[in-house]
């Protein structure tokens, strides 16, 4: 079953190392430099919420972390590998250890939902007999088991986003990058997506880098946890969170990290720019 003890859990030796490490990363295009020396790190099982205005470089940061874009300068390490200096062939191998949820889902529109989810398993040469149950299991996880034979065009925006999450985690990667997973969705569907991210974090210990413009997504991840026993989302009331998951916020502004800290620190910050996110 999906919700068995974590296969994602990293070894104790590895857990002391940062899973994602950005050091003075810069990238620019014809219109100018977008990231101007971004540095941060994410520890195992940590959720980093990247906040920022449109065009602040959130998606770029995710794509650089996944090796889809190469920075102009600076270094990026993911799972102990120097992503910023790897060849495309080496990157292809590394990307199989990470999931990426695109803003609009980016599902293959000529394939059915089941084929989309199974795509990665076929690429990894998983046994054919094993693929079907795993696809069914992960689609059940995102509560879309009944859509396996449908085409992406037959799904709503929220359902497509959930299929995208299913596709990203079907091979159980230790890291998932979420690019504005709730953008353009109604509050109820957004809550469903956040619940899925919570479940992935609390049940499987997935390290996440989540870009969003919605502060409430970050606070939901920081203040709630998924209780596997009751299969329900619960508010963290005790100082020591049962999930032991850490959520931190990074605010990007003008190509730099403007703020980095816990939800409590963000709330306490007496900064006019940060206050605009809190309104």
């Amino acid at each position: 079953m999906m919700e068995s003890p974590s296969r994602f859990a990293l070894t104790p030796e590895k857990s002391r190392e940062a899973v994602i490490q950005f050091s003075d990363v810069r990238i620019g295009f014809a219109e100018g430099e977008i990231l101007r020396g971004v540095s941060f790190s994410a520890q195992p099982k940590e959720t980093l919420v990247l906040l920022g205005e449109t065009g602040s470089g959130k998606t770029l940061t995710l794509k650089i972390a996944a090796g889809l874009l190469r920075p102009d300068s600076g270094t990026v390490d993911v799972l102990g590998e120097r992503v910023s200096q790897m060849s495309e062939r080496e990157l292809l191998a590394l990307r199989r250890k990470a999931g990426f949820v695109f803003q609009e889902g980016a599902l293959f529109d000529s394939l059915t939902v089941g084929e989309n989810v199974a795509y990665r398993l076929h690429e990894d040469h998983v046994n054919e007999e094993e693929i079907e149950p795993r696809v069914r299991e992960v689609l059940e996880f995102v509560e879309l088991g009944h859509t396996q034979k449908l085409l992406p065009s037959e799904l709503s925006g929220g359902m497509r986003r959930r299929v995208s999450i299913a596709r990203a985690v079907v091979n159980r990667p230790p890291i998932v990058f979420y690019d504005s997973p709730t953008a353009g969705l109604d509050p109820i569907t957004s809550q469903t997506i956040i619940t899925l991210i919570l479940r992935l974090r609390d049940v499987y210990g997935v390290t996440a880098l989540l870009a969003t413009q919605r502060l409430q997504d970050g606070f939901a991840l920081a203040n709630f946890h998924f209780d596997s026993a009751t299969r329900r989302v619960r508010r963290d009331t005790k100082p020591e969170k049962p999930s032991a998951a850490v959520t931190r916020f990074l605010v990007l502004r003008d190509g730099r990290i403007y703020f980095e800290g816990s939800p409590e620190e963000l709330l306490a910050a007496n900064d006019p720019y940060l206050q605009r996110f809190l309104i």
Binding site: L68, R96, F102
Partner: protein, 280 residues
């Protein structure tokens, strides 16, 4: 300080000046050289990928079905009528000298060496280079290509190589069918228009052909197939500007591949005639 917004638009000291004509031409040349370089790299990789795994044979078969079987109706129709019109045009000239029986010779040579490969190449370019460019372009703008890369798949292996291989295999087959149907069309026209004997037409058409003619036609179709597939893939994977860009890439794919096919045809004919004298 500017007092009104309009004053703010006046050129400032040290602001970039309008580029000269030479600078514009140099920039355009650089851009085009870069495009040729990127196209060459993509073309080379599309073939180099075939030498190593993973190879996507299912995708290749699906593309062969789409490009080969899908193009069959237009190739059959156009092939038949090109053969027929060739007979009508040349037959009238031969009749003036009482040499109508030579019609079969001319039609066979023209179809096998030239018209079969080039017309089939142009038709398939119109249908498939545009299809490839629009499909890959749409995948690019909807981030499906990035999604593929994010899942550890090399798009040049998964998307480009199967299309190139499928076209390399199917275009010579389509050309062969087109030539055969063209000869049938020519035979029908010669029987009904020139009152020639069908068997005599066919025997002369076959007898006049040499091995070098067949090789010339088939080698051209392989090159034309490579051109239309790689140009379609290159245009599709270099779309800029959303759905409007996809439309532009589709048009560009047809225009560029058609022009390249015609230009390549000239050089290939010269090379083939050289080898026909020396080798065959």
């Amino acid at each position: 300080m500017a007092e009104t917004p309009l004053q703010d638009t006046q050129p400032q000291a040290g602001s970039p000046e309008t580029p000269s004509v030479v600078e514009v031409l140099v920039d355009a040349a650089k851009t085009n050289i870069q495009k040729v370089q990127e196209y060459s790299k993509l073309s080379f990789r599309s073939l180099a990928n075939l030498a190593t795994s993973p190879r996507y044979m299912q995708d290749t078969l699906a593309q062969m079905d789409d490009i080969g079987v899908g193009s069959l109706p237009i190739v059959l129709l156009s092939g038949f009528f090109i053969g027929a019109v060739m007979v009508l045009q040349t037959g009238a000239q031969f009749e003036r000298f009482g040499q109508s029986s030579l019609t079969g010779d001319v039609v066979a040579i023209a179809l096998v060496r030239e018209l079969g490969p080039s017309i089939t190449g142009l038709l398939v370019a119109g249908r498939c280079a545009s299809g490839i460019a629009s499909e890959l372009g749409s995948m690019l703008v909807t981030e499906q290509v990035d999604a593929m890369r994010a899942m550890g798949t090399d798009p040049s292996r998964k998307l480009v190589s199967p299309r190139v291989l499928a076209t390399l295999i199917t275009l010579p087959l389509l050309t062969t069918i087109s030539v055969f149907v063209g000869l049938v069309g020519g035979m029908v026209a010669s029987v009904f228009s020139l009152r020639l004997d069908a068997t005599a037409f066919w025997e002369r058409a076959i007898a006049v052909l040499q091995f070098s003619d067949v090789m010339q036609g088939l080698s051209k179709s392989v090159v034309f197939g490579f051109i239309l597939a790689t140009v379609g893939c290159y245009q599709g994977l270099n779309v800029r500007g959303g759905t409007q860009g996809v439309g532009r890439a589709t048009t560009q794919a047809v225009v560029v591949s058609s022009v390249l096919i015609i230009v390549a045809d000239t050089f290939l004919t010269k090379i083939a005639l050289f080898f026909a004298d020396k080798v065959f």
